[in-house]
Symmetry: C2
Subunit: 273 residues, 2 copies
């Protein structure tokens, strides 16, 4: 099935994946080259799991989970399969975030550093708690088949908004975390003297912001939404090209524009089937 502005979508998606991967490489290089590496020993190497798991799981994986419905190659898959992938990626991201919290609390406790004193920890814990609430509500409302359709429709704008809000809060929290770690971790030369580690990790922070910006752009383009199930079912499955297999040949936005226009109701509330 053709997607409006397919080339722009492909460019945005490639940019997001590239910037995301580079961010992961950056956090690994930070930890292994500039810092103490990874271990589970109550020391700084245990703390290092915190940024690694956050960037890999809570930022990259959550970002991909957010845009997974947008991939036109998945439009031939059933909606329920895509929901399981969306939920699965988010649950995986949550597990990464939970382990990263254990790492930092364990590190603080063995080093006699207080927990939960900083704005970073306040906003971060709130984001993790809201994320788990979002997961539980999402599974109950959209994966358990008994929830009535009107409830699914009514909750969808809130589900989308809070997903993007939590994702943005996680990125803001990561920026505070980077700030804290560069101030506490760099002594002689300190953060102020801009040693190579400081500049390198500042770039990581900028990469995370760009990754977040691209994910939010993809997630908020109405024309890149997965078409409704009625539209997908109404498409010819032979002759005109089967659904989802000839994406690259149909990039003209006028090509099958009719199939993309949805009622204002669906546009407002998201798709609920």
């Amino acid at each position: 099935m053709a997607m409006e502005n397919f080339k722009q979508f492909l460019f945005a998606l490639s940019a997001a994946v590239t910037v995301g991967f580079v961010s992961i490489i950056f956090v690994l290089r930070w930890v292994f080259y500039f810092k103490e590496g990874l271990a589970w020993d109550g020391g700084l190497a245990e703390f290092n799991w915190h940024p690694v798991l956050i960037v890999t799981g809570f930022i990259f994986m959550q970002g991909i989970a957010i845009v997974v419905y947008r991939l036109p190659w998945t439009w031939k898959c059933s909606k329920s399969m895509m929901k399981f992938i969306h939920a699965g990626l988010n649950i995986l991201a949550f597990i990464f975030a939970a382990i990263s919290l254990v790492a930092v609390f364990d590190f603080h406790n063995s080093q006699k550093i207080p927990n939960m004193y900083s704005l970073h920890s306040w906003v971060g814990l709130a984001a993790v708690l809201l994320y788990s609430l979002q997961l539980v509500l999402g599974v109950c409302i959209y994966l358990i088949p008994i929830t009535p359709t009107y409830l699914r429709a009514a909750f969808m704008p809130l589900h989308i908004y809070s997903g993007l809000f939590i994702f943005s809060s996680v990125i803001a929290t990561a920026l505070m975390g980077i700030t804290e770690k560069l101030i506490f971790g760099l002594k002689d030369p300190s953060y102020k003297d801009s040693p190579p580690e400081a500049t390198f990790v500042n770039v990581l922070g900028v990469l995370i912001v760009i990754f977040g910006g691209i994910i939010l752009w993809i997630a908020t383009r109405p024309s890149w939404k997965r078409p409704s199930e009625q539209v997908l079912r109404s498409l010819p499955t032979n002759g005109g090209g089967s659904v989802g297999t000839e994406v690259s040949q149909h990039t003209d936005p006028k090509d099958n524009g009719d199939t993309r226009r949805r009622s204002g109701k669906l546009e407002d509330s998201g798709q609920v089937n």
Copy 2:
């Protein structure tokens, strides 16, 4: 003219204004009660202009500027007048941000502290530069009457997205700034020991996040958009209640739902007239 879910809108708007005002009171109390007050002396009292002007101008005023088209009381005003108010508030917010930058550079220079070494300064300066670009492009495309309509329509999704992205980046930058200032400014007891100032300013950070969250919620509800000029012109100006004057009497969403349904085209590209 009636607005869908008017009571919810009123609640969200009141919450945003209240939380915004409380944030301003918090930053003033931080500066005057816990810190050195305000002055232009190259010392810490000059630095204090930085958080005060950012919270007042770059966060609160920018937030109000973003949602100003949503206020149903303004729907009787001409679109061009609302555009001038939107632009004017944003220009005022930019001036506040610019002075706040002068304050911090001037403070750094007189104290021999390096400039632009931190992630806070990188993301913050990028946000100010993008904001000025957004202002110039916004004025050229939407206020200068010669720009062709197709260009206004094509640019609108980008204008909306980048406005919200810059606003979110400013809030993320403020959270990094609070983190830096509490680490550098608190010694014996330090940030880790949670003195009253630390807890108080952490709350300020949380208030700023909540303010941002409410503004983004209001700005992204499709049913709260200012109706298109065609719709506003087609409304009766007597008998059925004149436009904009009887908002509180027409809160039933079914009341004049027909006037609110716009074409998919307008929904996607925003309103350009």
